[in-house]
């Protein structure tokens, strides 16, 4: 495991859950601090709190506060969502930095630590709006939309994990911890890709394009992205460049082999066709016969034949499609904790040819070391915890 001997105290609410999960996947020992009455049965909790162990905490109890302090004294990283209902009130980021100079403290907030709106309330919806993502999603004349599966918490968690390991590297170099400040709003901005650059370089305001892609052509032409098929939708785009050329040639060859009407496609030399200069009339003409062709096939047919022909494009999957994808099965992506039937996304990276197994079921209790002399065995393998016991 890559992060063997790294102990993480995870005192986050939903905005930080993924951070601890990702670091646990990399081998860290993650101890999740939970209120005794916290809800742990929902998928949204279980999916991102698997691979951690839980210590229940009641901030009114002196023994619990002492136990938490003992854990922090041994920890490398502490993940926090300050101000949240789940966060133990005594865990102030700056106070932790002062008390534990080698500790990496990660503080995740909706709108960051400073600035005039740092205290604003925001759920996934408002954070996706504040980060610009909703301005780019939805029908051009319709309501801006978020992704129905909340994303801003995941973006914050992913960037928090990244900041944590960067700070951990610095700690190993300098001996000093650090405070990693995470703004979920700013994390969402990353997902906008180069859209803001249109404003900065060209004065163009990218907007919602619905089921189409804009910004590909300097003429402003829109390219269709989602095409109805027999059992859903296919995602296919006429790309330019070398990669697009092969795909476009293969699509025409596939249509020709099926006897499909080619229309304007028949006359195009893909070696010289330039997606960045095509105008709307040209794009509409080449897309019309493809619409008819795709309407007659299934998503799995497109996936299989598209792969055989080395084409760009994928079906629009549901979770049912994903759960039965042979590619994921071959790589052992979905995993259970040993002996249990509950299925999860497995560890996100394959390291040295092996996907690290999930080690802990969601909610598995961490047995705290007892006071000196109590003689109970330490449930953690952490070297630092052992050192604490010996001392």
């Amino acid at each position: 495991m890559l992060l063997t001997d790294v102990l993480i105290i995870d005192a986050t609410d939903r905005m930080g859950w993924l951070a601890g999960r990702l670091l646990a996947d990399l081998g860290a020992d993650v101890i999740k601090i939970e209120r005794k009455d916290s809800e742990r049965s929902a998928s949204q909790w279980r999916a991102v709190n698997v691979n951690k162990r839980v210590v229940e905490h009641d901030a009114t109890q002196a023994a619990d506060r002492e136990n938490l302090a003992s854990l922090l004294a041994c920890a490398n990283i502490c993940l926090l969502t300050p101000g949240s209902s789940q966060a133990p009130a005594e865990l102030d980021p700056h106070a932790l930095r002062a008390a534990y100079p080698r500790l990496v403290v990660v503080a995740i907030r909706s709108f960051g630590a400073g600035g005039p709106r740092s205290g604003w309330k925001g759920s996934d919806l408002e954070i996706m709006a504040a980060g610009g993502a909703m301005a780019l999603a939805g029908e051009p004349d319709g309501e801006p939309v978020r992704i129905s599966e909340p994303q801003s918490y995941a973006w914050a968690g992913a960037q928090a994990a990244c900041g944590a390991v960067i700070a951990l590297y610095k700690r190993e170099t300098t001996g000093c911890g650090d405070l990693v400040e995470v703004s979920a709003q700013a994390c969402v901005v990353t997902a906008l890709s180069h859209a803001p650059a249109f404003v900065d370089l060209s004065g163009i305001e990218p907007t919602r394009a619905g089921a189409f892609m804009t910004g590909r052509s300097i003429t402003g032409a829109r390219y269709r992205v989602f095409w109805p098929c027999r059992d859903g939708y296919i995602d296919f785009i006429f790309y330019g460049g070398a990669a697009g050329r092969r795909t476009n040639e293969q699509l025409v060859a596939w249509m020709r082999a099926r006897g499909a009407e080619l229309g304007a496609l028949a006359a195009i030399d893909w070696k010289v066709w330039d997606a960045t200069r095509a105008d709307q009339a040209e794009v509409d003409a080449i897309e019309a016969p493809v619409m008819k062709f795709f309407a007659g096939m299934t998503k799995r047919e497109f996936l299989t034949e598209g792969h055989r022909r080395e084409m760009l494009g994928y079906p629009v999957s549901t979770v049912a499609d994903i759960a039965s994808d042979p590619q994921l099965a071959a790589r052992g992506f979905f995993q259970s904790v040993a002996g249990a039937a509950e299925a999860f996304c497995g560890s996100f990276a394959v390291i040295d040819g092996v996907r690290p197994p999930l080690r802990h079921s969601p909610g598995e209790a961490f047995a705290l070391p007892q006071r000196a002399g109590a003689g109970l065995k330490l449930a953690s393998a952490k070297g630092e915890m052992r050192a604490r016991r010996r001392s």
Binding site: L2, A130, A137, V145, A158, F198, D235, A275, E342
Partner: protein, 406 residues
């Protein structure tokens, strides 16, 4: 470079590949002080340099692309022709010098170039190599090429965007690539940390598809547990009501949500219609959901006469979650993003002043920065090969004569 970042000072990163998922890892590490070298060739430069707008003044050119700039600030660019044997030999020298190789070519391409992990780790046993591609390095579709914009659909993300009775919606750009690159950066740094402790290098196989599914984890868990297939539902939420975006004056929109009856009462009060809180049509979340169309019309009737900022500030004063739907131009003036210097202007030799995007996190005691603008093609050949990799003048000249830098 025009600024300094220290947290990863001394970390040496080499990138083979192009477009999004690989280069974005190197960008983030460079923002925190790593020396990141983007390897291209003049014959086949990074595809983002030329294939997609925006370009400075709408004039395409290798050194004028805003798309390339987004993924490659704070790096050095070198040109190495890997189809020439001396080019491969030079790549070996670089691999011996660096700590981390990031590559995002199709599965198997690095092996075919003679740059597979077995070869490079024999030269540098402490090397970490992160290979990222659409499907991962193994499996029946490992060889499938693809771009992140479409892979987001395979991973279920586009299908979960849009209204229930409408088509899926596009997510801008290679959405899933940013997921993979952030997860990849964490994995790569974790491996580098292991090297420091144990001396043991690592090979990381990162499937961008699988990384994207980590952002769908709850929906997938629920399907496995109950068979429920999650569906797109516009802006609806199973708990909050109302929960959506509402039109404002001057074409703006505001997002708002109420998570309790008390919050709805605060919204109604802000609207000047406090009686709505006691109205049987809106007195509970289930009632508000059942009468969604009527409630949305009432809220929109109030928001449409006001600016989005005004609505959001008014609601936040009453502890109701709300924020303007920030546009791309609005990102540059949003007071919260401005306070953390989300966009930082750096001067590029051909593009002039350009605003580069900083990550969503920072270290309080060793802050990162946009260390420099995106590099021009091959701009750093001499500095990187002579001063960093350590070629002698004669070696450098030999490579130049052999056309390795062409």
């Amino acid at each position: 470079m025009t600024a300094v970042a220290q947290a990863l000072a001394g970390l040496k990163v080499l990138e083979f590949g192009g477009y999004a998922a690989g280069p974005h890892i190197g960008k983030v590490l460079a923002n925190f002080g790593a020396s990141t070298i983007h390897v291209e060739s003049r014959e086949r430069p990074d595809g983002f340099r030329i294939q997609y707008p925006p370009f400075k003044d709408d004039r395409p050119g290798y050194n004028r692309s805003g798309c390339f700039a987004f993924f490659n600030d704070s790096k050095y660019s070198v040109t190495v022709d890997l189809k020439k044997p001396p080019g491969v030999a030079l790549a070996y020298r670089m691999a011996q010098w660096c700590d981390l190789v990031i590559e995002n070519m199709r599965a198997g391409v690095m092996d075919r170039l003679g740059l597979g992990f077995a070869t490079l780790s024999a030269l540098n046993p402490r090397l970490v190599m992160l290979s990222t591609c659409n499907m991962g390095q193994t499996g029946p579709r490992a060889d499938q090429p693809g771009f992140g914009s479409q892979l987001s659909a395979l991973a279920g993300l586009c299908g979960m965007t849009g209204v229930a009775d409408g088509p899926p919606m596009l997510l801008y750009g290679p959405y899933i690539d940013y997921i993979a690159s952030l997860l990849g950066a964490s994995a790569a740094m974790a491996a580098v940390l292991r090297v420091r402790r144990s001396g043991k290098g690592a090979l990381i196989d990162l499937s961008q598809y699988e990384c994207g599914l980590m952002f769908m984890g709850a929906a997938l868990h629920e399907f496995h547990a109950s068979g429920r297939v999650a569906q797109r539902c516009g802006n609806d939420d199973p708990v909050a009501a109302p929960h959506g975006a509402y039109p404002c004056a001057n074409g703006g929109w505001v997002a708002l949500s109420c998570w309790s009856d008390a919050e709805f009462a605060a919204l109604a009060q802000a609207m000047g219609q406090g009686a709505l809180a006691a109205d049987a049509r809106f007195a509970s979340p289930s009632a508000r959901r059942a009468n969604k169309a009527g409630l949305d019309a009432l809220i929109a009737g109030w928001t449409q006469t006001r600016g989005a900022d005004e609505v959001a500030q008014c609601l936040q004063a009453g502890s109701v979650a709300s924020y303007p739907v920030v546009t791309m131009s609005g990102l540059f003036t949003d007071p919260q993003l401005a306070a953390r210097r989300q966009f930082r202007v750096r001067r590029h030799p051909e593009m002039g002043d350009h605003a580069y995007c900083f990550p969503g996190f920072d270290l309080a005691e060793a802050p990162g920065d946009i260390v420099g603008p995106a590099p021009c093609v091959g701009a750093d050949n001499e500095f990187v090969f002579r001063d960093l990799v350590g070629l002698s003048e004669a070696e450098y000249e030999t490579y130049r004569r052999q056309g390795v830098f062409d």
